[in-house]
């Protein structure tokens, strides 16, 4: 996938050493904006993540959303703890949402599965900017649109 910057960098890859400065933003050729981060946990493809001020990513939870950390999605591939990679912060991508969530749902953190979005608001924190364009299914990342940078 081509990007506009930095020259030559691919956003469908991860590495055990930083190839660029943490916090680097790229604009992908499919309308996404992506942020270069360091994994502080293992992630499945599609997991939503909270990003702290040091650009470390951890599974999205209510507590981290309450802290108003930046929010992204590991939309392109699985990520291993301590790897460097790009995560999607806006645009069109596939993310992990709870099964059976109706199209164009408002989303919240999940009380049952860290890293997932849920259409059940009970005791959870709303995540602004993101909706799904297809119904959520078990174990399969779901098409989503983030019209702006996702945030709590």
């Amino acid at each position: 996938m081509s990007i506009d910057s930095p020259v030559g960098l691919l956003n469908n890859d991860s590495s055990s050493a930083a190839e660029f400065a943490l916090g680097t933003i790229i604009k992908a050729d499919d309308g996404r904006k992506m942020l270069y981060v360091l994994a502080a946990d293992d992630f499945d493809k599609g997991d939503f993540v909270a990003i702290d001020e040091n650009f470390a990513i951890r599974p999205l939870t209510k507590a981290r959303a309450d802290d108003r950390q930046m929010i992204g999605c590991c939309a392109d591939f699985d990520v291993t703890d301590e790897e460097y990679t790009f995560v999607t912060i806006s645009g069109v991508f596939e993310g992990n949402i709870i099964k059976d969530a109706a199209v164009d749902s408002a989303f919240y953190t999940s009380g049952t599965t860290s890293g997932y979005l849920d259409d059940d608001s009970s005791g959870q924190k709303e995540i602004f900017g993101v909706v799904n364009t297809a119904k959520g299914a078990d174990g399969v990342p779901t098409p989503c649109i983030a019209a702006c940078r996702m945030h709590a």
Partner: protein
């Protein structure tokens, strides 16, 4: 400091003449998105600003936030009145928050133009911004703006 566009413009420099069109947006280090503005008054480094439809930056106040102007922080530089420069609208940066504001506080405009405050009394909420360290007197404080700041 590197930026992705336009080539050759440094975002820590202010200038008396416009080097690019006001309203130009760049992506910068630390996950920031910055916008090129014209200062409508002298702005100290770290101050939060309101930006109008002409990309004129003024110190953030409740009145300007109530007008739903764009909001940013002059985290890289002080701007003299009538100077041009880049200000940060999102990402990780240091800004002026009131002393002793606890970490991950929700912020509001304050009675001190250009400074945000965790006291909501008669002020307007600024969405998207929290501090990642306790606010200190006379020092800029690390902040995260997860999205474009707005009222």
């Amino acid at each position: 400091m590197s930026i992705d566009s336009p080539v050759g413009i440094e975002q820590e420099d202010g200038s008396a003449v416009a080097r690019v069109a006001v309203g130009t947006i760049i992506t910068a280090s630390k996950g920031r998105e910055m916008i090129y503005v014209h200062a409508g008054e002298a702005i100290t480094k770290g101050m939060f600003v309101a930006i109008d439809e002409d990309f004129e930056a003024m110190k953030l106040t409740k009145a300007l936030a109530d007008d739903k102007h764009m909001i940013a922080c002059a985290d890289e530089l002080a701007l003299a009145d009538n100077e041009y420069g880049y200000v940060s609208r999102s990402g990780v940066f240091n800004g002026n928050v009131v002393a002793a504001a606890v970490v991950d506080t929700a912020f509001y405009t304050s009675a001190t133009a250009g400074t945000i405050d965790d006291d909501p009394t008669s002020q307007t909420l600024i969405y998207g911004i929290v501090n990642s360290a306790t606010g200190a007197t006379g020092a800029t404080t690390p902040c995260i703006a997860a999205c474009l700041m707005h009222a």
